[in-house]
Amino acid sequence: MSDAIDIDQLLSEMTEATQTHCNANGYDNPLMIGIQRGGAWVANRLHQSLKLAEPLGELNIAFYRDDFSTLGLHPEVSPSKLPAELNNRHIILVDDVLYTGRTIRAAMNEIFDYGRPASITLVVMIDRCGRQLPIQADVVGKTMTLNTGEHVKLSGPEPLTLSFDNVEGTET
């Protein structure tokens, strides 16, 4: 299944779709933010291909997770890096895999603690379905339906590869 996916091909499709989405909505000079770690890798590639002027932002959502009381503090936390003021900006939020929607919920909460953006566009590489919250992506690289025990994982940053397994695990 994994060898069926050509990452570079996927990224170039996503670049095009994102550009189209921005143009259609009149988002001039958007600010791109990737969710650590996989989302930031994807965002980095999109950021290059879209030739965005401003540096890429990175979001660490560890402090906003809703599973803190059961899983505890993530051992490796590197702080969020947001290069610019967020107020009234059009944000392109990038993640690798969209599953339950909880990560995106946490990320949006954090974004709003930094300021009030004009809009947020969600771009994901894989939508594996199984949402628990009313969240959807504006740009999706590939949609697939996985069973509960199955897992999709992005490895990176260089080269970016997708892998699938059946290990029980939490949302990426």
Binding site: Y64, T70, L71, L73, P75, P79, D113
Partner: protein, 326 residues
């Protein structure tokens, strides 16, 4: 030593933070790493993250201290916890209620964490042995024993300026005898692997056997400061002059006060630290306290990040462990 056993849970995570003694270098480094990520929170539009939402933290201050209590309170609020401030010295104990009674009353109010300051050494340790298994205890200063969050914010400040601890020579100057800060700093510095820790003080302010903690003792300030990268000044309580420990503030300042001339003996890029509040003209001159090499104000702001880190680490342990310990 058994010191680390009570502080850690079965998975080796920090459960209580009572002392810097007995904790591993990697654990101390991870406190500093976490503090680094929490430091940014204070610079944002909304200075609050929802990590400890719904948790209740009780500040149990058996000994008054506005400064320390305020930084713990701020740290708790930035983590979205609810905080109770209890000044116990004026309420419960004067009515004959025992410490255990007080603790059990607070447990019944479903507190999740106690931040404890007490005039007696070992108080936080004692409380940690008494509380229900789900409660974490953070020592905010006990007698002469330990003040681990102060020591860690000092380590944080040093790391920001000096990057690594490995080649550092650090001097702690002043009233070591009565200082819980000094004891916690000594343990933290040695665990983090500094080249040398010196203490500089007259014999009356040096506790017996302090060499066993891994320090070199200097009575003379000028020799003690040679080649030093970090100077950690201690506060000298005015009441020390009343007994037979020191003759006068003037004489103390002459022998141990940190002046520009003395500072020049240390390395040119040496930093000057002080836990506050400063007695200007007693332990340090205003010129040095406000000078370029002073990092005293940074220490204060780092205090919040360190306390956020320690609160988050002790409260954010995985659930299965807590089931094991219950």
């Amino acid at each position: 030593m058994t010191g680390n056993i009570i502080q850690l849970d079965n998975n080796g995570n920090l459960k209580h933070f009572l002392s810097t003694e007995g904790l591993s270098q990697s654990l101390l480094q991870s406190i500093l790493d976490h503090a680094e990520s929490f430091a940014g929170v204070g610079e944002r539009a909304v200075k609050k993250i929802p990590l400890l939402r719904g948790k209740t933290i009780a500040n149990l201050f058996f000994e008054p201290s506005t400064r320390t209590r305020t930084t713990f309170e701020l740290a708790a609020k930035r983590l979205s916890a609810d905080i109770l401030n209890l000044n116990i010295s004026t309420s419960a104990t004067s009515k004959g209620e025992t410490l255990s009674d007080t603790l059990h009353t607070l447990e019944a109010m479903h507190c999740d964490m106690f931040v404890v300051r007490h005039a007696n050494s070992g108080a936080a340790h004692y409380i940690a042995t008494q509380v229900a298994p789900h409660i974490s205890v953070i020592n905010a200063g006990d007698g002469r024993h330990a003040h681990p969050t102060q020591a860690m914010l000092d380590m944080f400040t040093i790391r920001r300026h000096k990057k690594s601890f490995e080649n550092l020579r650090v001097a702690i100057v002043g009233d070591i005898l009565h200082s819980r800060v000094a004891r916690s700093e000594i343990h933290a510095l040695n665990t983090l692997g500094v080249l040398e820790t010196r203490i500089i003080a007259p014999h009356t302010l040096v506790p017996k056997g302090v060499e066993d903690l891994g320090v070199q003792v200097y009575n003379d300030m000028d020799t003690g400061l040679e080649g030093i990268d970090v100077i950690m000044m201690l506060r000298l309580q005015k009441e020390r002059m009343r007994g037979a420990l020191l003759p006068s503030e003037q004489e103390y300042f002459q022998r141990y006060g940190l002046t520009s001339e003395r500072l020049a003996i240390a390395k040119p890029d040496a930093i000057v630290m002080h836990p506050g509040p400063i007695n200007r003209g007693v332990e340090i001159s205003s010129e040095v306290a406000d000078g370029e090499q002073s990092v005293i104000l940074q220490q204060v702001s780092h205090g919040i990040a360190i306390r956020m880190a320690v609160m988050a680490m002790t409260m954010g342990r995985s659930n299965d462990d807590m089931e094991n310990t219950e």
